[in-house]
Each structure stands twice: as C-alpha cells, then as structure tokens.
Amino acid sequence: MSTRDQHGRGRLRLPAPRPRTARLAAALALAAGLTAPLAPAAGEARAADDDGKRVLTVAVAQSVDSLSPFLATRLVSTSIHRLTYEYLTDYDVKDARAIPGLATEWAPSADKLTWTYTIRSDAAWSDGRKVTAEDAAWTFNTMMTDPDAATANGSFVTNFEKVTAPSPTELVIRLKKPQATMTALDVPILPRHVWEKVGDYSEFNNDKDFPVVGSGPFVLTDYKPDSYVRLEANKNFWRGAPEFDELVFKYYKDGDAAVAALQKGEVSFVGNLTPAQAEALGNQENIKVNDAPGRRFLALAVNPGARARNGEEFGDGHASLRDQRVRHALFLAVDRKTLVDRVFRGHAVEGEGYIPPRFSTYYWEPSPDQELAHDPAEANRLLDEAGYRRNGDGRRVGEDGEPLTYRVLCHATDPNDKAVGQYLKEWWGELGIGMDLECLDNVSDPWLAGEYDLAFDGWSVNPDPDFVLSIHTCAALPATPRDTGATDNFICDKKYDDLYARQLAEYDPAKRADLVKQAVSRLYDLGYMNVMAYPNAVEAYRTDQIASITTMPEQAGNIYGQDGYWSWWSAEPAASAGSSGGTGSTGVVIGIVAGVVVLAGVGGFLAMRRRATAEDRE
C-alpha cells in the first residue's frame, strides 16, 4: 500500500475528476479559524450525540483521491481502507511483525515459489456473506489482469504467476521469482460478489452505494468530498467490535480551525500540528498532545531528466542537475540541524537515509566519509570542479553563460515546504545559485510532466519498505511519456535496480535488511533523493472524549495514519463527557481587546465625522 503524506502530497492522476483544494474553501475555513477562538468556549464535549451514539470525530485536511482501493494512494484514503477492508496479514501494533489478518497461517513451499494461506472462517462481509479465499484470489487476479486495477498497488502482484482458491479457506499464490513481501501484502481484499459487477475500474471510485460492503472494523456509510467521511462500527468484526459506534473524518482545511474545533470539543482528534499549536495545546486540560517519531520523511527530490520506459525523454529538468557533483553541492549547502531546530522546532529528526530511524531493521546511516554533512566550502569546491564558475555578479553560470536558477516545486498546502524553501533560497544564494519557489495547490501536473528541477517530496514508510523502494526503480517509469508510472521522480539506476531485485527475492530477514540498506546507500550516493528531516507525528486528542487510544508502535508511536486499524479500533470513549469550558481563554481575551480597540477607533472616527459635517446636516 502506498501512503502519500497528509498534506496532499498525492500526485496521482486519475481519469475521474476529483475534488481539489479550493482556495476559497480554504479562505472560508480560515475565516472560521480566525473567528472561532473569539467565540465563547461553551458547550460540553461531544463524545456522544443525541441518540446516545458514541461518535469519534477526527479532523483531517487531505482530500480523498478515491475510495476505490484499486486507485487510492493518499494517506487519508488508504487509512480509510485499513479501517473498512481486512488484509491478508496485519502488522503487530508493538513491533510491526506480520500477524494474522484474514489469513490465519501462511507458508512458502520448499522452492520458495508457492505460498499457501489459510483464510479464517469467522470473517464476514458487512452484508452477511462469508469472506472466502475466492474473494482474495479474485482481488489479486483482477489486479494482475486489469492494468486499471493495478494503479495503486500493482507493485505487489507484478511477480505473481497464478493465484487460485482450491477451497474457501485456502489461497495459493504461485510466484515467478521469490518475493520477500508475501507476509506484508498491503492490499485490501475486496468482496467479489460486489466488485465483479463494476465495469471500468479506472472510473469507479466506490463512493456511490452506501453502506459500502467491507470486512474491516468499520463500515463506510457516507462520504461527501472535502466535507466528511462517515464510518460505522462493524459489530460483527472478527477481532471484536470497536468501542465507538461511529467514526467521522471531518474536513478542516485550516489547521487553526481544526485546533479551535478541538478546543471546543467539536472534534476529538487533530493531527499534523505546528510546533506553536502543540505548545499551546500542551498546556490545556483535557487535551493530550502526542509527539512521537513519525513514519514520514521530508526530502528534496531532484528531476534527473524525466523519461519513459520506451526511452523517450520529456519534461524540462535543468541539465546541470544530471551532474552528481551539482546535486551533492546543493545538498551540502543544506543545514539540516537548523531546519530541525527552526522549522520543526525540535519536532523532527535530522534526515539521513531514505528510511526513518523508527524502522530500526532497515534504518541506514551514511558513514562519516560518505555523509553529505553541511559544508558550504565543499559545495563551492564541487561546483567549481563541475565547471559552474561565478560571473561578475557572483552568480554561477553554465557553459551557455546563463546563471543557474532552479525551480523548486512546493506544496502550497504545506507550511513546512515554504519555510524550508526560504532557507534553501538563502543557502543556495550564497553558493551563487538562484531559486524560484513555485508553491502550487496541485503539484501533480508539472510533476508528472517532469517540468520542474527540484521538488519537496515525502512519503509515509510502511514497516516493510518494499513499496517506497519500488518507486525508484526503472520498472516504475511510465511506459510512454503519455502514461502515468508508479515512479516517484523518474530515477532509473541499474545498480539500484539490481539491489532492489535482490532484496525482494531474499527470504532471510537479516540478509534482506542488509540488501535494503545497500539499496538505500546507493540512493543516498546518487543524490536524487535528499532526505532533510523525519518529522514527528504531532497530534492531539481530547481525554474527556477518548479515554485511551493505542499508538503504533505502542511505545511512542503515531495515532493517525497507522499501518493498521489499531488506533480507532482500540479507542475507548471516556466515561463521562465533562465540560470543556475555559479553553481558548487567551483567544477570547485577545478577541475582546481587539474588538474594543476597533470599536473605540470607529466610534472616534464617526464622532469626528459628525462634527466635521455638522453644518451640512439638516
């Protein structure tokens, strides 16, 4: 399962129109955010609605790209799929090892090419039918035969030769080559009896017919784009019913509006807090701030010259960036310590390799002589060596005499992108390199067309790193310039591909981890993906609405966007919904003071006008 980050990092091009972040909506939400803290913080916490239903409301910002598991790649959508569809295996909440999901047992054959899964007999679809091996086989077979169905998770099945279901409880997968991810197939299993009636999978977004038949701890009952996603508890879930009766993902396009809603008790959970928000919420009663190592990274991706599998080149990436020395020089000028200290204010870890330190099995750090540590002098030396000399104005020029200026794509919805961008502009300015920060709501179009030089990039990494590694292989490139490939930023490197293939075929965990680290090391040296930071998961929830909730990993982990349904499934409602009065008092005081000042000003002005026009009035 691919997991694009919270703030609309998704760049998938879908044939069906999908909601975009409307600036006006943002403006309205923003207006709400500005006024909300000024309203008296009345009202009691709303963990229960009028009919005594226990509702858990979660504030989200990222738009859903699609609710079809065949198409969805954004974090919000894949999180919903985790809740509504069971997978063959789940990740253990403590150490992320594979544990039984729909499959109770699994074993490879001696030649490592045939995997047999035993499907549990106590799992049922929400419409009452039993979940069988036939459903799983159909899901995989559809992805293998229909390229549209392989849009999101195709990388898991490219190596499958044949998938069969000899009996309702037995699933057999025959592979072409050994595949190490067989216990971590992040593919939602779909109900065959519903989905085989769907005609075109590229057009079907699974958002018309409610409730949506599923097998997870929650059932999708309603969805309105950029407004809400409503899920009801599945009382017959085989692992046990969730404690809350309903789970609602409510849209707040503005972070401050979401925080205000949390303070007033309108939502129970808010993720992706800024350092200032986390600090402010940390001092309030009934609110707990969870600040834990995240599973994301924030990287600077370089356009290596976009190309397709058929060899055609497209896009207009800067030619100088094909020189490794230039890429290294750009990254050598980046002071990651300052970024963590200033932009994230400590709520992040300095970036090193491609995989965050939380995944200790695969985490790789560069050796001291390999590391691209902050060193502007070395960066200048590399640029001189590469032949980009300074001209009279101190700008570095290429052979054509044009000063070097790079376009950097940034997500307008992500404040961190803009903040980091300002630092980059100054650091590179000292190297004599110009930079244009192009912040867009929708970066997909220039990104897929290869019309950028560098870009802010970020992925949430799964416990099994296969997916995030697969998006940098040559096989992920689009077939032709008109197609969309799974590739992240058009990297294609023979040596990396070789290491990737070897890790995928390696069943021994220790040896595989070593190969993964070698692949990450190669990626680091190439300089196409420069990880700047691993941002923490900074989130907050109301303790008077949620008594307890499981993070993943249990010791210091995130709540939103887990590799599983643990957080929302395990969340326990608080016994009594107490009053949440007194929150946001600072906002109220400021609001009143500002209001008085404005009123006094207006009053004074009017009085003056009245006097000035006294003789004109009748």
Binding site: D256, A280, A412, A419, Q422
Partner: protein, 305 residues
C-alpha cells in the same frame, strides 16, 4: 525678473505658472479645511517616510531567515519590541520592511487600474456608437465579476512575482473608474466649447487630450487615491491567501505566515495584530486623503461644503 510695473505684458509661460500657483494654493487652502484629510495626509507622510528610509533603518537583512537573530515566536521583549516570527526574525523590522512592498504594490496597481479605467472611460465617452457599446459591455462584465476571484485566478495561472500581483489587481479593479470617467467625459463633451473646438478643426486626439482629459483629471486624481487603499487591501488579501510570492515580505504575507505557523490557536497576538493594524492604517490614510481631495475638486460636493 520681469518688471511687473512696466508696459511689457508678462509672458504666457509666466501667466500659466502664476495661475497654477494660485490654483494650488487655493486647493491647499480648501484641503486644509478638511481635518480628516490632514490626518490622512500626516499618516501617509509617516508611512512614506518609514518605507523610504527602511533600507537605512532596518536594511534588507531583516528578511533573511538564515541569520535570524531570535528564537522562533518569541513574545515582545526589549530587544524585539514586537516579538519574533516563526523563523526568529524581528517582527518590527519585518513590519517596516513589509511596508515597502505593500505601498509599492498598492500605488502601482492603483496607477495601472486608473490608467486603464481613464483610457476606457474617455474613449468610450468620446467615440459613441458601436465601439462604446462593446467596450462598456466589457466593462460591465468586469464590474459584475467578483474582482477577488478574478485576481486569484489570474495570479494562480501567472508566475509568482510582484509584477503578477500588481497586474492581477490592476486589471480587475478598473471598471468603476471607467464608468465614472465616461460619465464625466459625456458631461464635458456636451459643453459648447467642445463643439467650437471641433468646428475649428480639432481632431479626436486633440479633444480628448487637450479638453476632456484636463477636465476629468480631478476625478481621476481622487479616484486614484481611493483606489490605492483598495489595492493595498487586495494585495494583503492575495498574499494572505498564499497567492503572492512566499519569499517576499509583505504585510499580507506576514499574516499568512502567522496563520500557517498556528499563531491564531497559539494566541501569539504580536504576530497577527501589527500587520493587521498597519494595513488598516495605511488604507484609512489613503481613504481620508482621497475623500478630502474629492470634496475639494468635485464642484458639486465643494458647493455643498
């Protein structure tokens, strides 16, 4: 020096100069009577002084993030009277530095808007017929379009720069001026001396530039002053909505930064209030001046007062 007692008549140029000087002093006398106008003028002078001397008082270094002097989001202290922003930059310095962009964009966008408006208005009023009908329908179309939405759309498709913002504001806010100027042009052109000028062989260009333009100029001047405050507000709105160039320091951009840093929910008022007051202050100053100029120059208002 010319001998004023002598028989030699004063030269034409001297007469013109004398007339202009008298007109200016009369204007100033009447303007002085408007207290609000004086307050506005004083405010404007203050803002202009701050903006023009900014390179000496704070310097462009104040906008640099890499060598920001403070910690992020510090409250007001003796060292930073208005606290620091999310990068640890001095907010007072940023406020002073940001005035340059806000004023520059406001003035240029207003000038652009008024130039377009005056051009459209005068030509539409002068050439009647099909041309006027077409051009006034275009004006009407721009008039009913929500200007902010149009400006956001324009700024979104063009490259991010100050020029884009100026253009976006300028080309969306001219219709009011065009309507006003056209009405005045029609009034001027119905006067007998225009007919006389035509009879003496005055062409279109001559009539429009020598007779109509001087007569609509007072209106245009007043409209410009009023337009500046609207442009400054629009610039702040656009920057606040994130349409501007994020690396340029402006008042609206500061508000946007504050919002993104979560200053609203954190209660960091020193990040939000000063740019807001500055925007309101400069817009108010221009409005006060504009109103005063309008009532001095507009004959109908002038008689009433």
């Amino acid at each position: 020096m010319t001998d004023t007692t002598g028989a030699a008549p004063p030269s034409v140029r001297a007469l013109v100069r004398q007339r202009r000087r008298r007109a200016a002093s009369r204007f100033w006398r009447q303007y002085r009577a408007h207290r609000a106008g004086l307050v506005g003028l004083a405010g404007l002078a203050l803002f202009a002084l701050v903006a023009l001397t900014a390179p000496l008082t704070v310097g462009s270094d104040v906008a640099g993030v890499t060598d920001a002097p403070g910690r992020p989001l510090e409250g007001p202290t003796a060292e930073f009277p208005l606290g620091t922003d999310r990068f640890g930059r001095d907010l007072l310095g940023l406020l002073v530095w940001g005035s340059r962009v806000s004023l520059l964009v406001g003035l240029l966008a207003a000038a652009l808007s008024v130039v377009i408006g005056a051009l459209v208005g005068i030509t539409a009023g002068h050439f009647k017929g099909a041309y006027a009908t077409v051009i006034m329908r275009v004006t009407d179309w721009f008039l009913v379009m929500p200007a902010l939405v149009l400006a956001v759309a324009l700024a979104a498709v063009m490259p991010r720069s100050l020029g884009t913002v100026i253009l976006a504001i300028g080309v969306t806010s001219w219709p009011t001026t065009a309507r006003l100027v056209r009405a005045q042009t029609l009034a001027v052109e119905s006067r007998p001396y225009i007919e006389r000028a035509k009879a003496l062989g005055g062409g279109h260009g001559h009539i429009m530039t020598r007779h109509v333009l001087p007569n609509v100029m007072p209106l245009v001047l007043a409209q410009t002053t009023l337009m500046v405050s609207a442009s400054i507000l629009t610039e702040a709105t656009l920057a606040f909505l994130g349409v501007g160039d994020p690396t340029v320091v402006s008042w609206g951009g500061m508000l946007q930064d504050a919002r993104e840093a979560g200053a609203v929910s954190a209660g960091d008022w020193w990040y939000l209030v000063p740019p807001g007051i500055a925007i309101a202050g400069v817009a108010l100053a221009f409005t006060l001046c504009g109103r005063a100029v309008e009532s001095v120059l507009n004959p109908r208002l002038g008689v009433a007062r």
